[in-house]
């Protein structure tokens, strides 16, 4: 009896032990606990000094199923206590949106990987990055989380989507990539009242809070009483998927890609649908207006290319890496109006390009200089009913922008103490004397304990994209424990 029991036990436990061993051999995991503190150096934007006390838990599991197949699962959760411990109404109102992980965004990656010599397939929730520049030009496949403007790492800003990514290499160093993205997520922006909410959103929110507004007096007093905005998402049908193709190859050591993307914009655009006037008799009689609007996502097409080349032959250019990219966007919705006031939403073609030069300038120090231009095909529009000429507007501020908007980005990176201390500075300068300067330093305290301290300075006119955050200068600190 004892023997039978023993054998039964062995037969039950042994497979489990073997399974556990296999699991140990084939599973790889890593993660971190991170605390971020953000302190603003002024309070004149209705916020107190503490604008962030964010705690993040992140873990990734890579399970190797066989030589060619693997599965990756990567959740992440955060909670920002700053939204709980503060008392200001403006700030607390955004807690439900900014204070914790939203909906399904806790799942950063969840995909099945098949890798072979000529064919790679990745099925599931993932992110894809195109292009070579630090400022996204071709990197338009994924929606972005702009709730902290461009301060986080790009990998954390991209919002992952469920998709199929297929990379086929007919020959060495030449790859054809196909993307089929049935999933849709809109880019996230900070709600009105949050530190990095767009001024256009804040102004619109303030307008809705001050209703009714007297908008006319002839023949009767006319009040704008209601503003309705209905956001219309693309319906969940396969034909509404985003499709992308990228061909990458090399000519000598010149690396290039040709890109095509067809899908919905990741940002929604405001359209007026109708205005209903209601005559209200009484003393005194007046008219009440209700404005019906929609926010819509529109189908656009992007075609582009990118290249990168390091000069490896001896000579003046040796050691320089040259990178560039170009994107033509067909029929992208664009706002037109006067400064601070959007009047029309019309489509226009966009031509965006950038070029970057990178070189090791002195010992262990790399300098990267980038020139970027965003060009809008039609920078003026005539209102068909009034004949008024409207200019193209910045989407986030409704400030008037030029037909050609130029940016220069400079990044300097180095390290000290055997790479324990890594300082870097990013300077973005845009036309009309606006931009941001972000110095940062990362310190490795232990193998598994890292400290990062930085400062973000924004400058420019209040209606410019960076200048709108000129009261948001802040000290950023981050402690990260990894495992």
């Amino acid at each position: 009896m004892r023997i039978i029991l023993f054998i039964t036990l062995i037969t039950m436990v042994l497979p489990l032990r073997i399974f556990a061993l296999q699991l140990n051999d084939s599973i790889d995991y890593a993660g971190f606990l991170k605390m971020e503190i953000r302190l603003k150096n002024n309070t004149d934007n209705s916020h107190q000094h503490l604008s962030g006390l964010k705690n993040t838990f992140d873990i990734g599991f890579d399970y190797k199923l066989s030589e060619n197949w693997s599965f990756f699962f990567h959740p992440r959760f955060f909670y920002d206590f700053a939204y709980d411990i503060r008392e200001q109404e403006e700030f607390d109102r955004t807690q439900h949106y900014m204070g914790h992980t939203q909906r399904t965004e806790w799942l950063r990656d969840c995909y099945l990987d098949y890798n072979s010599d000529n064919l790679d397939i990745r099925l599931g929730k993932q992110q894809v990055a195109w292009g070579h520049m630090d400022i996204p030009i071709l990197d338009k496949v994924m929606p972005f989380d702009l709730t902290n403007w461009f301060l986080p790492d790009l990998a954390d800003m991209r919002i992952p989507l469920w998709m199929a990514k297929i990379d086929y290499s007919p020959k060495l160093n030449s790859t054809l990539q196909f993307l089929i993205i049935p999933d849709f997520e809109a880019s996230r922006v900070a709600p009105p009242g949050a530190p990095f909410s767009f001024s256009a959103y804040n102004n619109f929110y303030n307008l809705t809070q001050s209703l009714p507004i007297l908008v006319g007096t002839v023949p009767f007093n006319t009040y704008l009483n209601n503003i309705y905005v209905d956001t219309i998402f693309p319906s969940k049908q396969f034909e509404n998927s985003t499709f992308g193709v990228r061909f990458s190859s090399m000519l000598g050591n010149l690396e290039y890609t040709l890109n095509w993307l067809y899908g919905f914009t990741t940002s929604s655009y405001l359209y007026e649908e109708d205005t209903v006037a209601t005559f209200v008799p009484g003393a005194p009689p007046h008219i009440e207006l209700s404005s019906y609007n929609s926010r819509r996502f529109k189908r656009v097409q992007m075609m582009g290319l990118s290249f990168a080349k390091s000069f490896v032959d001896p000579g003046l250019l040796e050691g320089i890496t040259l990178k560039g990219e170009f994107a033509y966007i067909h029929d992208e919705p664009t706002y037109y109006g006067t400064s601070g006031s959007r009047e029309l939403t019309e489509v226009s073609d966009k031509y965006n390009w950038g070029i970057a030069i990178e070189k090791d300038v002195v010992k262990n120090t790399t300098l990267s200089l980038q020139l970027i231009q965003f060009i809008v095909d039609k920078d003026k529009r005539v209102d068909p009913t009034t004949g008024t000429v409207y200019k193209v507007l910045d989407t986030s501020t409704y400030g008037v922008i030029d037909k050609v908007e130029t940016s220069i980005a400079l990044k300097l990176m180095t390290d000290f103490m055997y790479e324990r201390v890594k300082p870097e500075i990013t300077v973005i300068y845009q036309e009309d004397n606006q931009g941001r300067i972000v110095p940062k330093v990362g310190v490795e305290l232990r193998d598994n304990l890292w400290l990062k301290i930085g400062y973000a300075h924004f400058y420019g006119r209040p209606d410019s994209s960076n200048g709108q955050f000129r009261n948001n200068d802040q000290l950023m600190m981050e402690v990260k424990y990894t495992f």
Binding site: A155, T175, G319, T321, D360, T482
Partner: protein
């Protein structure tokens, strides 16, 4: 007797360097009577494992130890494929960091050209961007991954970069490997060679190296500044990795000491393999994009 002599002569020739460049995928061992240049050609041939079609290092531990004993650690994997001059490329190399977690997944792909005047082509998979970046090759005297070793000491120094003088032959005095406190290579027969960089105002004025007769590996190097002061030493634990009919000269460990700061870097290369048949597709930008971290 004549037949034996003939056979002996043939076998000796196989081990010797023939005039001109060494051939890829062949093993060479230094012999008595060779010039400093011939010995150094073999040393470089072995350093970049040009005797094998490919090289796989699944587990490489790097320890950074400062004068107070404070220690940091990195773990990496390394792959190399020897192209043998095809398309002008000598070899392609891929290093993937697996520890610490903060930089887990960081991968560096380098293509090294046969032309000694050409710089390397370098790509980087940056986990914080989830993107491949084409980057400029580091300067040869930059620190390699924050270690005491420079980039050229690990991956870019070539035979043509220095001039050589054979100082003599001696039995090595032995090296105390700090990581384990073992005495290594005591009494090992070596060639002693002086190497002077051709580049003016370089970070060292000369180095003296000890190359073992058994492996053709440089087990010890002393670096001197322009004042003739010794400022750095590098120890390399070379051994023969026997695999069937082919004996691969292999570096099992490296220890570099900066005598000015008291800092040292120890590299342990574990479970190395050669001629595994690694596909060249592993050394492409597409392969870098497979990274999950």
């Amino acid at each position: 007797m004549r037949k034996m002599l003939f056979l002996f002569a043939i076998l000796s020739l196989c081990g010797k360097v023939l005039a001109g460049e060494l051939e890829y995928y062949k093993l060479y061992t230094p012999q008595d009577g060779m010039s400093a240049e011939e010995i150094m050609q073999i040393k470089y041939h072995n350093k970049y494992s040009l005797f094998a079609k490919d090289y796989y290092l699944p587990y490489c531990e790097v320890y950074y130890v400062d004068a107070s004993g404070f220690t940091r650690k990195k773990i990496a994997k390394r792959f190399r494929i020897v192209k043998g001059g095809e398309d002008g490329i000598s070899y392609k190399d891929l290093v993937v960091i697996t520890y610490p977690t903060e930089i887990k997944g960081l991968a560096i792909l380098t293509w090294t050209y046969e032309d000694p005047n050409k710089s390397q082509d370098v790509w980087l998979w940056v986990p914080s961007l989830k993107k491949v970046r084409k980057i400029s090759a580091s300067e040869d005297d930059d620190a390699f991954m924050g270690s005491d070793l420079t980039v050229e000491e690990v991956s870019t120094r070539k035979f043509e970069d220095e001039s050589y003088r054979l100082i003599g032959e001696e039995n090595f005095k032995g090296y105390k490997f700090e990581h384990t406190a073992e005495i290594k290579f005591e009494g090992e027969p070596c060639f002693v060679i002086e190497c002077v960089p051709k580049q003016l105002h370089w970070y060292y004025a000369k180095r003296i190296i000890w190359v073992t007769k058994s492996t053709g590996g440089n087990i010890f190097e002393e670096y001197y500044d322009k004042n003739g002061k010794l400022f750095k030493t590098i120890f390399r634990d070379w051994a023969i990795y026997e695999r069937g009919i082919k004996n691969y000269p292999t570096q099992h460990a490296v220890e570099c000491k900066d005598l000015r700061t008291g800092h040292r870097t120890t590299v342990l290369n574990l479970e190395q393999e050669y001629d595994k048949g690694i596909s060249e597709q592993e050394f492409t930008v597409k392969a870098l994009m497979r990274s999950k971290w």
